[in-house]
């Protein structure tokens, strides 16, 4: 029964200075869920862009056969016509248009150029039902959380007659429940005979749904594993990805925790647009010297808002409360002052808030601390800057052609490393990391955890916001649980477990409902 639906042969794709894909062979069976895994910058997204015509025929070498037919797509619309639909790593919805408008964007239900809204809405409702999203078709995208936005993307894909669905890291910014739901959906589609390709760094998910797993490394196919018959362990996949065994997922650490160095007291924040909505409600947290503190919670629980409002009031209105360092109140009323007082905040949204994408790695690394690479007159010492950037490129192994490569051309994970470099270079005492390993491969995660440990050993205080509970449990000394703008639980890592954290969240939600 296993007929091949897609076959990519000898695909080679080069960018100036980089060979992103080197003679890659990749084939997918009809009706399976095929996972594509590999380190950051291995070429996964590039391979899928070649397949879907984002990189048109002629800009790569090699052949693509879809359903036995040789395909030479000039653009995405041609591949979509064949039934190949890709959902990109970065969501591409238009925030101020409604769900229905977004779903049928470019594919408007129109007659002679006039949109038939009744048909549009009806079809949208049908699609939303398929993906299990209970929202009105007229809801604006901006009013939806990321999880729901992802479902809209899928509904949009389904609106085109899709035979092969490609999902590039669909769960990277989803919490466990949403991820779970999305994977269920994929399995459901499989039942209906759809074929899909799933790119993910979350190997447990891969294990759960994939029928076969292809591993890419440095732009080349390493192997394809069949997980239908025999169980493929996560360690087995990791070995293929990084080329060696990775015995521990989290580096061991001897925590040496000192006195309280950072405190946020009675922190209240109101919504910037709806000033009567309280986003953060009387939060008290503290961090000790050498301690890694986690903040767990669901998407939208107010963790990012808490961090950004503390970091120079970059979010919110009518903020009240105290921020103290070493027991003394510090002024964090602007980002500049917050940085000057030893705070750093690495954002979860690297494209919009983290990087100047049109600038090279070098400029991004030094942006928050240009003073350190310039003389008294404000003149930049360029050689020094180069050395700094090179150091970070090496120590965080940022995969790139040089420090002069524009960050827009880096793979997602490597962009994240540039954001981290920027804040490491600002040499903070308190480092707030918001989803620091989103979209990062296992090997690089380990490197980042190692860096976090090193910083803690140096006596800094670290706050990690993460939606991945295993990560929080794996690297933190103490964990706060946040829900709906409040701290609803606090526990030491020793007594914490996924169940306990979820229980904290649920309990509070029940209280809220009753």
């Amino acid at each position: 029964m296993s007929s091949v639906i897609l076959e990519m042969r000898n695909i080679t794709k080069t960018f100036p200075g980089v060979k992103a894909l080197d003679d890659v062979n990749f084939s997918v069976q009809q009706g399976e869920i095929h996972a594509l895994v590999g380190e950051n910058g291995a070429g996964k997204s590039t391979l899928m862009k070649v397949l879907s015509g984002v990189y048109p025929h002629g800009t790569y070498t090699g052949e693509i056969y879809f359903q036995g037919e040789l395909c030479q797509f000039k653009d995405i619309s041609q591949s979509e016509k064949m039934g190949i639909v890709i959902i990109h790593q970065e969501l591409a919805l238009i925030p101020f248009l409604s769900i229905a408008e977004n779903i049928f964007l470019g594919n408007e239900q129109a007659h002679r150029g006039i949109v038939n809204w009744n048909v549009t809405i009806a079809k949208t409702q049908e699609l939303l039902k398929k993906v299990g999203l209970r929202e009105s078709p007229n809801t604006l995208i901006t009013d939806l959380g990321v999880g729901k936005q992802q479902l809209v993307e899928i509904a949009k894909a389904l609106s085109k007659e899709v035979k092969l669905l490609i999902l590039d890291e669909p769960t990277a910014s989803l919490n466990e429940t949403d991820s779970e739901a999305l994977l269920e959906l994929l399995l459901q589609f499989k039942q209906q005979g759809m074929t899909s390709i799933l790119i993910s760094h979350k190997l447990n998910e891969v294990n759960k749904v994939a029928d076969s797993i292809t591993i890419l490394r440095d732009g080349a196919t390493i192997e394809t594993l069949d997980s239908r018959n025999d169980l493929v362990t996560e360690d087995r996949i990791i070995r293929g990805m990084v080329g060696r065994d990775l015995t521990h997922r989290y580096p061991p650490r001897e925590a040496e925790i000192g006195e309280v160095i950072f405190e946020v007291q009675n922190w209240k924040v109101y919504h910037p647009i709806h000033p009567d909505r309280k986003v953060i409600d009387d939060v008290n947290i503290h961090v000790r010297k050498g301690e890694v503190v986690g903040i767990a919670g669901l998407m939208g629980s107010g963790r990012t808002e808490l961090a950004m409002s503390v970091f120079g009031r970059a979010y919110g209105k009518n903020i009240s409360g105290l921020v103290c360092k070493h027991g003394r109140e510090i002024d964090t009323s602007s980002v500049h002052k917050a940085i000057a007082n030893g705070l750093a905040y690495a954002t979860e949204d690297r494209k919009n808030y983290g990087l100047v994408l049109i600038q090279p790695i070098k400029n991004n690394v030094t942006l928050a601390n240009l003073e350190a690479v310039s003389g008294r007159a404000g003149v930049i010492n360029k050689p020094k800057e180069m050395v700094v950037a090179k150091d970070y490129r090496t120590s965080l192994s940022i995969k790139s052609s040089s420090i002069l490569q524009e960050t827009v051309n880096l793979s997602g994970g490597n962009q994240q490393k540039v954001v981290l470099s920027k804040w490491l270079f600002s040499n903070p005492d308190i480092l707030i990391l918001d989803e620091p390993t989103r979209g990062i491969d296992v090997g690089a995660k380990y490197e980042i955890y190692t860096i976090i440990n090193r910083l803690a050993e140096e006596g800094k205080g670290i706050i990690v916001i993460s939606s991945e509970l295993p990560e929080i449990l794996g690297i933190c000394d103490r964990i706060y649980v946040m829900n709906e703008g409040k701290i609803v639980g606090e526990m030491s890592a020793k007594e914490a477990s996924q169940e306990k954290i979820m229980a904290c969240i649920m309990q509070q939600q029940e209280v809220a409902q009753s």
Partner: protein, 399 residues
């Protein structure tokens, strides 16, 4: 085939030269275009274009466009636009004229007042843009109307002039010659020589630094060729000018401004921050950059340079007129874009804007000599703008 080979390794020498040419072509494309346009008009005008008199004229005619283009470049890089520069220039010129002619204020004081006034106007517009979040297009469109209106009111529809000779020299004066040679202005030649040597030295130093830190540099041959060419052009230009009246004062002002702003944008923290802000304002703000203040100051700077432009226009015409500087905002904006600035911000160079302004200037001058009417001149300039930006966009997409 092995994995992970980079492109450079399996390239033949021919390919690498082609690649090199392509990479550098974009950087120098507008310079090459400028030279081509000059050559074209040199032929079309039977050599009039490069005659010492005309060359000097060309500088005098375009100096204020270049000056304002520098300010506009910063505004555009910061992610904004300023439509008011023509009106601001006219207004400052009118105030200066009234002060000098009606109140006999000393011209040096007038120049200072004019520059401060420009700064204040820039600050006023910058305030609305940076702190009240009015889109710059709208705030400066308002400014364009307001200051044109105020110019008319100030001059009561009349032309005001003439000015003291000291003021006129701002635009029409020349450097004195200390050597006193009859037919050749030796000082100008010496300055030309010093400048070109300085450029070669700085370029060489930059290259040496890059090599020291292990960075790829362009091949020595290209480096030498580039510097020989630049030196030759500067020496030839200064020779041409030396054989007329020498270097005009404005050219000196211009030169100082270009060097200062090129340095500012390339080498200083504030310059770097403007580029970062234009590239991604949110990321810049979250990196501790005071984006509001920076935007505000960018407009203050623009106001001052527009004022300087206005003073030079007035000095050159020896009269302030209500219509002075009408439409030059378009030349100034076009210059920045022809020079490779990006309309979405974050990209552009001072040198590029200067070259862009010269492209416009040479075309104006050349077409006038050839006898093309003002109507067709406009049309042709519009097309040049379109093609220049098209070329730039295309080469950017390819790289």
């Amino acid at each position: 085939m092995t994995t992970g080979t980079t492109l450079a390794r399996d390239n033949s020498p021919v390919n690498s030269i082609v690649a090199l040419f392509k990479n550098n072509l974009r950087q120098y494309s507008m310079l090459i275009a400028l030279i081509a346009i000059m050559a074209f008009f040199q032929v079309m005008t039977d050599g009039t274009l490069m005659k010492p008199v005309n060359l000097t004229n060309l500088v005098l005619q375009n100096s204020y466009i270049v000056i304002m283009a520098i300010g506009m470049l910063l505004v555009i890089v910061a992610g904004h636009i300023d439509l008011s520069v023509g009106s601001v220039a006219a207004f400052v010129g009118a105030v200066a004229a009234v002060l000098m002619v009606d109140y006999n204020v000393n011209f040096i004081l007038v120049i200072i007042i004019g520059l401060v006034l420009g700064g204040v106007i820039g600050a006023a517009q910058g305030y609305w843009i940076a702190y009240q979040r009015i889109p710059s297009f709208i705030a400066t469109l308002a400014g364009m109307l307001v200051f044109r209106g105020l110019t008319l009111a100030m001059l009561q529809g009349q032309s005001v002039g003439p000015f003291p000779t000291g003021f006129q020299r701002l635009s029409s004066g020349f450097l004195p010659d200390v050597f006193g040679h009859q037919s050749l202005h030796i000082t100008s030649l010496v300055i030309g020589l010093v400048v070109s040597l300085a450029i070669v030295y700085l370029d060489w130093r930059g290259r040496r630094n890059q090599v020291k830190y292990g960075f790829e540099v362009s091949p020595l041959g290209l480096f030498v060729a580039k510097n020989v060419l630049i030196t030759a052009v500067i020496l030839y230009m200064s020779y041409l000018m030396a054989s007329y009246k020498g270097l005009p004062n404005v050219l000196v002002v211009l030169f100082i401004l270009i060097v200062a702003y090129a340095f500012f944008t390339n080498q200083t923290v504030s310059g770097r921050r403007i580029y970062a802000m234009g590239g991604n304002a949110k990321a810049a703000a979250l990196s501790g950059i005071n984006t509001k203040l920076l935007t505000f100051l960018t407009f203050v700077n623009m106001g001052m340079l527009a004022a300087l432009g206005g003073l030079i226009i007035a000095a050159r015409l020896n009269v302030a007129t209500p219509k002075a500087g009408t439409g030059i905002e378009l030349d100034v904006i076009a210059a920045a874009f022809i020079g490779g600035a990006s309309a979405t911000g974050g990209i552009g160079t001072v040198i590029g804007a200067v070259v862009g302004a010269l492209v416009m200037g040479v075309m104006n001058n050349g077409m006038s000599i050839v006898g093309i009417g003002i109507d067709w001149q406009q049309a042709i300039k519009g097309l040049v703008l379109l093609f220049a930006v098209w070329f730039d966009v295309r080469s950017r997409m390819k790289s």
